[in-house]
């Protein structure tokens, strides 16, 4: 059996996020900076990975932009004052550590086993 070209990303969130599932539309809008709160009123903050298979998989499946296009999107917000640059991290462990301690943080990782201390969100 051929190995998958892209690792499937696992969406994780801080325990303050009140939902256990999120629609693909809402997830996309969170990671484009167009949505800052969920249906239950939880304020959310997107957290990115810097690179890697899970990062590429997440962007392709849920955001519809390449890494460069997404960074340009956020730069256009930052340099016009209409948004902030999300934090980004190099590894699953760093993403989990930040999401675990940051209220409202939503991120993604490559390995479900690394999701200790954060809640997993199902994308519907």
């Amino acid at each position: 059996m051929a190995a998958p070209l892209l690792a499937e990303a696992v969406v994780v969130a801080n325990s303050s996020v009140g939902v256990s599932e999120i629609s693909a539309d809402d997830l996309k809008r969170v990671f484009l900076g167009a949505k800052s709160s969920l249906s239950d009123g939880s304020a959310v903050e997107p957290v990115l990975m810097q690179s890697g298979a899970a990062h590429d998989s997440f962007l392709k499946e849920y955001v519809g932009k390449t890494d460069a296009a997404l960074r340009n999107h956020f730069k256009s917000l930052v340099f016009t004052g209409k948004g902030s640059m999300p934090k980004s991290f190099a590894s699953d462990a760093e993403v989990v550590a930040y999401v675990a301690k940051t209220k409202g943080a939503i991120g993604y990782i490559g390995s479900p086993a690394a999701a200790a201390g954060v809640k997993r969100l199902t994308v519907k």
Binding site: K35, G64, T66, S76, F79, G81, M85
Partner: protein
């Protein structure tokens, strides 16, 4: 040239030093973000001098940069400011200005407000036209984004009401309504051009009231939209031909702009159409009242062959007065451009090589692209332009 090279090296060092720090730090429990950019260009033309630069000899007078700082005071409230400076030929001359500074409160996803000096949303790229690192091209289509007339459209001192409305299966609708006083650049294209036309002018004042509505469609990567802006412009000058007689010019007008953009993977396609009907009245009425209908449009495409290499092209047309002969060189600027962009060092540094083939020079007594002051020998119908431009950002 040595001065330009010195600032280019300084900017490169700052970017390479700041990029690893991710341009943010904590102060008083708040995350402060700092970002900046700098670009240096070289322009050469085979005939007419372009954008007040002495491009027929080759010119390095093509520099700009900006620095911003921002923070979230609460989950819903952000504040920030950006300083900007540029030197393009005889324009702006390195003047440091407050590019934007405002407070932004987001009540909900579908309702937010901004107040202060705000970048104006007009079309696809008005508010990002200074950020060359966001675009494949060294020079955006001048038919719609004239770099010499930037001040007339770039921002307003007032406020916005804005929001994003997601509709299941239909994509996202984004709106912004805004109003405020228009910006002015005492060393901008209008000042330079009118002075050369015998009417040195004072500060340009007026207001802008408008709105933009765009639809990120269910087709991935496709966005369409429209902007409507009501502009009032007032300026007092001195009519040199009448011994310096004070002359007030009142020029209300409209800006209609319609656009489409498609971006998927490495491909990016865009097209915009802009129409600017205006009327001019003079006090005293020594010149007759008049009206003008300027129009411009372009289509562009680019493709990222590799993370480090992107190529693109556009065709752009501008007509000073739509109701007059379109074939006259003095009424049009038609530009076909091709570009190659190379991304270096973690996408914080880029180099562009771009060629333009222009037909026409627009209204010689107006202010746009080709100016009498830098072309005292007269204007020839065709101009070929080479631009080399490098930019840094963090």
């Amino acid at each position: 040239m040595r001065e330009c090279m010195k600032w280019t090296v300084v900017a490169a060092v700052l970017v390479f030093a700041a990029a690893p720090a991710r341009a943010q730090f904590e102060l008083g429990g708040k995350q402060i973000q700092v970002h900046g950019f700098f670009s240096q260009g070289f322009a050469y033309t085979n005939t007419n001098n372009f954008l007040t630069m002495k491009t027929s000899d080759g010119s390095f007078a093509f520099t700009d940069g900006g620095l911003n700082v921002s923070t979230k005071l609460t989950n819903k409230l952000r504040v920030g400011a950006q300083a900007y400076s540029r030197n393009i030929g005889h324009l702006s001359n390195g003047r440091v200005e407050l590019d934007w500074a405002y407070a932004d409160y987001r009540f909900t996803d579908w309702l937010g407000v901004r107040a202060g000096k705000v970048k104006s949303t007009v079309g696809l790229y008005n508010d990002t036209q200074d950020m060359e690192f966001l675009h494949a091209f060294a020079l955006l289509p001048q038919s719609v984004y004239p770099i010499d007339l930037r001040a007339s459209n770039i921002s307003h001192k007032g406020g916005d009401i804005y929001g994003d409305i997601g509709v299941k299966k239909l994509g996202t609708f984004s709106y912004v309504f805004y109003g405020g006083l228009r910006s002015d650049d005492p060393r901008g294209g209008y000042n330079y051009g009118l002075r050369d036309g015998g009417i040195p002018i004072g500060p340009i004042d007026g207001y802008r009231i408008g709105g933009d509505l765009r639809w990120a469609m269910p087709i991935e990567g496709l966005t369409i939209g429209t902007t409507l802006v009501r502009v009032s412009t007032g300026v007092t000058g001195q009519l040199a031909a009448a011994g310096g007689l004070p002359l007030h010019i009142n020029a209300p007008g409209m800006n209609y702009q319609h656009y489409v953009e498609y971006q998927r993977g490495g491909i990016k396609l865009a097209g915009e159409y802009q129409r600017n009907p205006s009327t001019y009245t003079f006090t005293p009425a020594i010149l007759p009242a008049s009206s003008n209908d300027s129009r411009g449009w372009y289509v562009s495409g680019s493709y990222k062959f590799h993370p480090r290499f992107e190529a693109g092209a556009y065709h752009s047309q501008y007509f000073y007065n739509w109701d007059v002969d379109h074939s006259a060189a003095g009424n049009r600027i038609v530009d076909t451009a091709m570009t190659a962009r190379f991304n270096l060092f973690r996408n914080n540094w880029n180099v562009k090589v771009e060629g333009h083939f222009m037909d026409g020079y627009g209204n010689r007594s107006g202010a746009r692209s080709f100016y009498i002051g830098t072309n005292p020998q007269g204007l020839t119908p065709r101009t070929n332009l080479l631009i080399l431009r490098t930019g840094f950002n963090f």
